[in-house]
């Protein structure tokens, strides 16, 4: 056999193989697994969908189309569409996660000045330095106001909630949040509030007010909040 002929027959053989490969893949079953995968990816993307709305919508549409194709019996098309939906959902999740910080900031603009004065009728949140439970001068001033507030409402009982930023470890933050709460409680007791009007609960780093991973966000999260119980 000449080399030219060999080339030609090889080309034919491979072309045939390719055809067989495609035929083998064109199966007659609904692509259940591909649809499940796409749905799972969409579920995972859902938690960050608000920060990748456009991408998430496209993924939802692709999945809807895949489901429609299944109903029409176009299983091969549906499988491709489901795989596309999964890819789009994965993209949406990645985009949402990458964009989370900025997007959350845009949705929750930082406190504007003046809120301080407006909030006279409620207890004010006090803030702490990193890994500290000591009260700053500013925190003490706010606590004096909070004490005045409680004295005007002798029936009120208050729960002090101690919080930490997300930098530390879960176990230590829980203890630190407790210490912050206790420090606030002691100071308010010194200013004349009866112990049985003040409870303390530590949330450690479990309930941040700002989900950002930067110094500003951390500073907002290192705090003691006040909840009026009755």
């Amino acid at each position: 056999m000449s080399s030219k002929n060999l080339t030609r027959s090889l080309a034919r053989l491979l072309a045939l193989l390719l055809g067989v490969a495609f035929l083998a893949l064109a199966c007659g079953e609904p692509p259940t697994k591909a649809l499940e995968d796409a749905e799972n990816s969409l579920l995972e993307a859902a938690s960050v969908s608000e920060c990748a709305e456009e991408e998430f919508r496209k993924a939802e549409e692709a999945l809807a189309k895949a489901k429609q194709l299944v109903e029409e019996g176009e299983y091969d098309e549906a499988a491709i569409q489901a795989a596309k939906a999964k890819q789009l959902a994965d993209n949406a999740k990645a985009a949402g996660e990458a964009n989370w910080d900025d997007c959350q900031k845009a949705k929750n603009p930082p406190d504007t000045e003046g809120q301080f004065e407006v909030a006279l009728d409620k207890m004010e949140t006090v803030y702490f330095d990193f890994n500290e439970s000591a009260l700053t001068d500013e925190a003490k001033k706010k606590l004096q106001k909070n004490v005045e507030w409680m004295k005007r409402r002798p029936e009120a009982k208050v729960r002090i909630e101690g919080h930490c930023d997300e930098q530390g470890t879960t176990d230590y933050n829980l203890a630190l949040g407790e210490l912050r709460g206790q420090t606030v409680r002691k100071y308010m007791m010194q200013l004349g509030i009866k112990p049985d009007r003040l409870a303390v609960v530590s949330y450690g780093s479990e309930l941040p007010v700002d989900l950002g991973l930067n110094a500003d966000a951390y500073a907002k999260n290192r705090r003691a909040e006040f909840k009026v119980l009755q």
Binding site: S3, A82, A83, E97, G168, T169, D171, Y172, A175, S202
Partner: protein, 448 residues
């Protein structure tokens, strides 16, 4: 054959493979499970030092009866176990190019030269037979250089379909034992906490290879700090508004153990002694011994104006590692079981927390905050000598020893993502991701 033809053949072959792969990927089907698994595992050898690993080949699993998912599950479990053990380099499936048709299951019927030629030192062969719901599993390890079957501390097993993974884990453990002298840890459990919504966090358990996820809490609340007690998991839940300590006996409903006002958290159990952190009666946090079921206070181990928290028992229940900020910053301390002889172990760094005492020996793992606000895993011995185990890989927190002291599980934010769960060998050399998807994982703890 002319070089032109060779080129053509290669081109067509590559095209064929690529097209088949692409079409298969578009259909969302798994074409090559082994490869998928290997792709899913990030291998990272710290500092470029590669420990000598054993080159191992796994021959395709043959079988009779049942569906193809059986051989796939055997292969997947085996591959993942041996990969994450850190002791082996698995020879990729596509390098096993020779005809396996004549290769049998006995040393005399295996062409060891073929396996030697592709660089295998160990060879795993397997078959199964499925009949009326039972899978008879036969896995064997051969030593390629000497051409003999290794005598393993494992016998072929007959198990139900759902116990198949566990049987493969037991074989993998025997392979590890053969090479290292220590039985492997596959099939052991890891508990952790994961955020599911803004105001919800739940306790889960999984097998150490990331499989068999089980959700422990379904209370719509924040649940944190799991730790293993006898036959179940202790954790702290806010379901009653106060951080109370609960115990989940395997498969049952969580029961309240300690509900003092203030903190009830961070349980560490050794035999019948359970240590926790309490801040009862509006005092600061201290370490107490309580009854493992009723929560009745049996002893107070620390009594200090600052924070004392995070107790961790030594394996023989004679000593306790803990964290205190009595010197102005959180540091690791050690004391006797009755609270006497308290002394400081860590002196470097201004934030050392989350101790976990080795089940073998006196190495205590902990988390240190370093420069640039990154956290890393260290160990310290009773003389105060510290060793660093993670470096330049995001923040690494909450280490916990494996039951045999060979591995460490921890949470890491490496690769730019949220926190995921990794394991590493005790020397930190081999580090690998074990959670399969998502992030937001915290405080993994290995069952003892």
């Amino acid at each position: 054959m002319s070089s032109r033809i060779k080129t053509l053949i290669v081109t067509f072959a590559v095209a064929l493979l690529t097209l088949t792969w692409a079409a298969s990927a578009a259909l969302g089907q798994d074409l090559n499970t082994d490869q998928d698994i290997q792709d899913g595992i990030a291998i990272d050898i710290r500092g470029g030092i590669r420990r000598a690993t054993i080159p191992l080949a796994i021959s395709p699993i043959g079988g009779q009866g049942g569906d193809p998912s059986i051989s796939r599950e055997i292969m997947e479990t085996l591959t993942r176990d041996l990969m994450i053990s850190g002791y082996f380099t698995l020879i990729p499936r596509d390098q096993i190019f020779f005809d396996l048709g004549s290769d049998g299951m006995t040393a005399s019927s295996i062409n060891f030269q073929n396996w030697f030629n592709i660089g295998a030192s160990g060879l795993v062969k397997g078959t199964y037979r499925e009949a009326s719901g039972q899978v008879k599993l036969d896995l064997r390890l051969f030593k390629v250089e000497s051409g003999v079957q290794a005598n393993l501390n494992w016998k072929p097993e007959s198990v139900s379909r759902i116990q198949l993974r566990q049987a493969v884990h037991r074989f993998a453990n025997a392979v590890i034992e053969h090479y290292t002298g220590n039985r492997g840890v596959f099939g052991t459990k890891i508990a952790f906490a994961a955020r599911t919504k803004t105001n919800e966090k739940h306790i889960y358990t999984m097998d150490m290879d990331g499989a068999n996820l089980t959700r422990v809490t379904r209370n719509g609340a924040i649940n944190i700090l799991p730790s293993w007690g006898r036959g179940g998991v202790y954790f702290t839940s806010y379901q009653d508004g106060n951080p109370n300590l609960y115990f989940w006996r395997w498969g049952g409903k969580p029961q309240l153990v300690s509900g003092h006002e203030g903190l009830n958290a961070g349980a560490s159990q050794c035999k019948d002694k359970l240590l926790v952190t309490l801040s009862k009666n509006g005092t600061n946090t201290d370490i107490y011994q309580i009854h493992p079921n009723t929560g009745a206070i049996e002893a107070r181990l620390t009594d200090h104006w600052g924070i004392d928290t995070s107790p961790s028992w030594s394996a023989d229940c004679s000593k306790v590692a803990f964290v205190s900020d009595r010197a102005g910053s959180p540091q690791i301390y050690v004391m006797d079981a009755d609270g006497s002889n308290q002394r400081r172990l860590t002196f470097e760094g201004d934030y050392n927390t989350s101790p976990d005492w080795s089940p073998r020996g006196n190495s205590i793992l902990y988390t240190r905050r370093g420069a640039g606000n990154n956290f890393d895993i260290y160990s310290v011995d009773l003389k105060g000598y510290s060793e660093r185990l993670t470096e330049n890989q995001g923040s690494n927190k909450d280490p916990s020893w494996s039951p045999n002291g060979q591995y460490i599980v921890f949470a890491s934010t490496r690769d730019g993502g949220g926190a995921r769960i990794y394991i590493m060998t005790a020397d930190g050399q081999f580090q690998t991701l074990i959670t399969r998807n998502g992030s937001g994982y915290a405080t993994p703890v290995w069952s003892r």
